[in-house]
Amino acid sequence: MDILFDIWGFFVSIWDNFYYSVIYDNRYKFIIEGLCNTIIIAFFAVLLGIIIGIFVAIVRNYHDKTNKLKILDKLVKLYVNVIRGTPVILQLMIIYYVIFRSVDINIVIVGILAFGINSGAYVSEIIRAGINSIDKGQMEAGYSLGFTYSKVMKYILMPQAIKNILPALGNEFITLLKETSVGAYIGIIELTKASDIIASRTYDYFFPLIIIALIYLVMTLGLSKLVNIMEVKLNND
């Protein structure tokens, strides 16, 4: 009989842990808030990244093809090198502790800006690779018909490059979803910080960490699946 009590006690203590980590004092609300912030930051950061990335990719491609915009090209190359050559946590700290030091600004917005600026450098490489993967004969055919550079881009290169770019952008979003956890370091209440807050109250890390790990996994695996479907669909078109 003793062994049955022990097993019973084991499950009761697991339930207690779960109860105090998630339900007591509405602690699950931290997780929901964290999840929302994680998604918001990743989504808007990737959006900002796409805008910056398109701009950078076009400046660099235009420079490669026409040898114009020399100074702007140097600047955007510097941006890409600096961003890709330093850790994202450092960029986040510089933006929060240096640039916005004396500005009263929502910390989630700081996160969006920092991760967006970071993502822009990677997105620009994704877009550049997408454009460069298109046979240069396509561009020449466009030129020979009398299209300008911008029309060649718009009507000929981009519609073809998008097939390679979209799945890679999906993967960039997945990367960002995980990378936003770094935001915990400056106090953004995203998913990882949320679990940390709960654990600091219960002194028990098991459930807070396992739960958010499962949430991250469900999101990234689900999105990976979507990216795969998108890839297959785009290739069949």
Partner: protein, 241 residues
Amino acid sequence: MIEIKNLYKDFGKKNVLKSIDLTINKGDKIAIIGPSGCGKSTLLRCINMLEIPTKGEVIFNGVNLCDKNVELNKVRQKMGMVFQQFNLFSHLSVIDNITLAPIKLGIMSREKAQKEAKRLLKSIDLLDKKDEFPTSLSGGEKQRVAIVRSLILKPEIILFDEPTSALDPEMVKEVTELMKKIADDGMTMVVVSHEMSFVEEFAVRVLFMEDGRIIEQGSSDDIFNHPKSKRLKEFLSKISK
């Protein structure tokens, strides 16, 4: 129509074209022949500025195209080009390949461009393929579509860069036949080709190039039956017609 004066083109340290002088008159049918790497494709690509010459002038209807202020896109609407690798737009159907330029350049309304494209496709017996994508066409069909794609803009001259070199042998004829038809309609044409029997039949003037220079030029009878320079004789002896 086109006057090329003292044209040079370098790729890095390599001098690909050296002191080229050439006049192309309206209605000319010119063929450029020569060994691989002699610069004939580069010369062709310098005419519509796909390659920017290092030195010299290309004058088209009185305008020097090497001048930086020239709107090349406007000039190129008047100069068609047909490529070795066809370069059909792979994301567009056959008819959209043909109508993209006239519509997006604001030259024709969509209806007019469609009508014109259908007429052109009918003339090359490909009207039933108008909604197909380039990947489902044979090489010969792709090249014929590429030719009418440049025709729809009513160019004053068409440049052909080895138009039959990437084709299976049995498809060469359908393309050369179309080119002859266009020539008979009075189009000014410059053709870089290795298809000697076609060149001999088609070209009014033949240029023989080697090592970045025009070594010899004349009527196709002069070039093929009465070659003067030693190099041209060697070249002709090596190729089979």
